[in-house]
């Protein structure tokens, strides 16, 4: 039986960014995924936004969600450059239609300032790495986005918001980790895990592996895998998000991310993003579902068409639909809406780390790897930096 120091289960953005960070150290580690390729689950079905942190009401200071996202902001340009992955600063617009919107954005603006721009802020980032948010009046907004609805009176502008290609990024992270010595075992579904005093036996559909440490980064399945060794000390609810892509012709209509604040009693997100490969991505119709739910209810497309029609009125979007698809993500504290990430060692299972991301998980990727390395070091794993780590070389990770 093969033996490893660390086994990472899941090759989504979480597993691959942790693998890449670990590949900077002398360690014997492997990444296992049930699929035959990288990033085929949540990491391939999202809004592709990164550098989030200043732009949304959900980033409450004090949460891991805020910490990992905000601290990741300055790391994005270098990371994507090293790996040769597309990255584009598009900027985000929080759209204001009335005074109540304005008051809420003002609160957000203050929060963003307090949590990252003030010198004594918990996640201080200097001004050349994190540009301050600013309010735009109707005229400056029109200059940026000429086709925007006349109902919009202004916006809170976050110049930091960016887009990337999460699938390409996860692949590049994996291939770079592989080139630096991390092994990959794809097409192997975890079936059971045995917990022993000093090691785990991980049984997949095809192999058994002995490992000292497990990092459980299985996306929507983190709870199920954790339950195998009684390491589930958290709960989340699966939430399906339905997105619609519009064809390349819509690219020239809009160049920023833009969103309306959620309305009371309406949980759905109303946002548009010009994605990096061209065209607009619009969503998100949200619904609590079973994790295996594959249905695509028509309310999804209807919602998304309403959203884009509300932001850019008078364009025949219905004729430019490219595809409607969904992703299922874990939402913690769903009964209050106070979502947070989980990146932690459970109370009663040492040498195990659960990684539950959910909203803005891609965006937190650069810091996530560092956070996990910290946890490993705290658990006594000896991590010695590799002098010959190369941040850009790549090697295929597929089954040879």
């Amino acid at each position: 039986m093969e033996e490893y120091d660390v086994t990472i289960i899941g090759a989504g953005i979480a597993g691959t960014s942790i693998a890449r960070e670990l590949s900077k150290y002398k360690i014997n580690a492997i990444v296992i995924d049930k699929n035959n390729d990288i990033a085929l689950e949540m990491t391939s079905t999202n809004m592709a936004l990164v550098c989030q942190g200043g732009d949304s009401l959900t980033f409450r200071p004090g949460t891991l969600h805020a910490e990992l996202n905000i601290k990741s902001i300055p790391l994005w340009p270098k990371l994507t450059e090293e790996l040769g992955v597309p990255f584009k600063r598009i900027g985000g617009l929080g759209l204001i239609r009335n005074k109540s919107d304005y008051m809420k954005f003002l609160k957000m603006y203050t929060r963003a300032f307090r949590s990252s721009l003030r010198r004594d802020a918990p996640y201080y980032i200097s001004e050349n790495e994190f540009k301050p948010l600013q309010f735009l009046d109707r005229k400056s907004l029109k200059d940026l986005e000429p086709y925007i609805s006349s109902k919009v009176l202004g916006a809170l502008y976050d110049p930091n918001l960016s887009v990337t290609d999460p699938i390409k990024l996860a692949k590049a992270l994996a291939e770079n980790a592989r080139a630096n010595g991390i092994e990959f075992l794809l097409g192997n579904e975890i079936k059971s895990i045995e917990k022993n005093k000093d090691y785990f036996i991980v049984n997949t559909s095809k192999n058994s592996i002995k490992t000292k440490f497990v990092i459980n980064a299985t996306g929507i399945n983190v709870d199920k895998i954790a339950e195998m060794v009684k390491a589930r000390d958290f709960t989340y609810v699966p939430v399906k998000g339905i997105l619609t892509d519009f064809d390349e012709e819509t690219t020239e209509l809009f160049s920023h991310q833009a969103f309306y604040l959620p309305r009371l009693g309406d949980p759905h997100v109303r946002a548009v993003v010009p994605i990096i490969s061209g065209g607009l991505r619009v969503g998100i119709y949200l619904d609590f579902v079973m994790r295996t739910d594959k249905s695509l209810p028509s309310q999804g497309l209807r919602h998304n068409l309403n959203v884009i029609g509300d932001i850019i009125p008078g364009y025949p979007f219905r004729k430019h639909i490219k595809r409607t698809f969904f992703g299922i993500m874990p939402l913690t504290n769903a009964e209050t809406g106070w979502h947070d990430f989980i990146v932690d060692i459970p109370n009663y299972v040492p040498r195990w780390i659960n990684v539950v991301l959910g909203p803005a998980g891609v965006s937190s990727a650069p810091m996530l790897g560092k956070k996990v390395v910290d946890l490993l070091m705290m658990s006594g794993v000896h991590l010695e930096p590799k002098p010959n780590f190369n941040p850009s070389t790549k090697r295929g990770v597929g089954n040879e």
Binding site: K230, D233, T235, V237, M290, R291, D293, E335, T336
Partner: protein
């Protein structure tokens, strides 16, 4: 592919309770009380584990009721009342329980029931209740292993439900209480009106309190027992039975749903099959 339920049935309520117990055990949390209520706030299923304080029973039930009737989780209520929620307790005979561990069951965009847990710290209660709600989004079904007393109560109530179903009788509520009249288990079969659960609980209490058939409270201790109102749980109506196991008094069972004499007959027939004796 299974769909998210749009109504909490008895079997879904039991799935929720099993998930809560499993979570509590996996995380070495103290044994407590687990309640699931319908969208009106009325108990569908309740269990109290061995060793859990008796007082946690009504706290768990009232938490679930609060989450449904206030349409919000205990966490939210705590925040929006700025920790002063207890002041509201002059209302509703003190039932409002504005502390974590109370969660509305949200599915298809509406509240279809509530979950309550009591027995641990506020943080543990919250985590256990969350594990309960999330269970309706799970495809897998499992039964958690429970301690001896609760497992006997489960067995007894399942036999009652089976008997009622096999004989096509009217659906019933089942209540099992300990030797002090405190609830260990409450189950309400689908389509049994919510009032039957309260009747069953009162019958079980009466049988336990007087260590005899519930109707004997009247016969042995005089008419006044039911009319003096010294305890609102006294219900000297047939359908409550005091139980012995290995010649030892262990508590009472009450059911309601059919004519009282029929309810009593169901219990007497079913306990014969298990090793319980009725105290006459």
């Amino acid at each position: 592919m299974s769909r998210v339920p749009n109504k909490v049935t008895l079997s879904i309520a039991l799935k929720i309770i099993n998930a809560m117990i499993r979570f509590a055990k996996d995380n070495e949390m103290l044994p407590g009380s687990y309640a699931v209520v319908d969208e009106g706030g009325h108990v569908i299923a309740f269990e109290r584990r061995d060793g859990a304080p008796a007082a946690t029973a009504d706290i768990a039930i009232d938490k679930a009721w609060t989450a449904v009737t206030m349409k919000a989780s205990g966490r939210i209520l705590e925040v929006i009342t700025r920790g002063q929620g207890w002041r509201l307790n002059v209302k509703h005979k003190g039932r409002l329980t504005i502390i974590p561990g109370a969660i509305p069951i949200i599915a298809h965009g509406r509240i279809i029931g509530g979950v309550g847990h009591s027995g641990g710290s506020a943080e543990d209660d919250l985590k256990i209740a969350q594990a309960g709600w999330a269970a309706i989004f799970r495809e897998d079904d499992f039964e958690s292993e429970v301690e001896e007393r609760l497992s006997m109560a489960r067995k007894l109530s399942k036999e009652i439900i089976k008997y009622v179903t096999d004989k096509s009788l009217r659906p019933v509520s089942v209540a099992i209480v300990d030797e002090w009249g405190e609830p260990l288990l409450l189950y309400r079969m689908d389509r049994a009106p919510f009032g039957t659960l309260e009747l069953a609980r009162d019958k079980a209490w009466t049988a336990s309190a007087f260590r005899s058939f519930s109707e004997n409270a009247l016969v042995f201790y005089g008419e006044k027992v039911s009319t003096t109102n010294w305890n609102e749980r006294v219900l000297p109506v047939p359908g409550g039975v005091a139980l012995e196991y290995n010649k030892e008094f262990v508590g009472g069972i009450g059911i309601a749903g059919n004519e009282p004499e029929k309810d009593k007959e169901i219990i007497v027939e079913v306990i014969k099959k298990l090793d319980f004796q009725a105290i006459t």
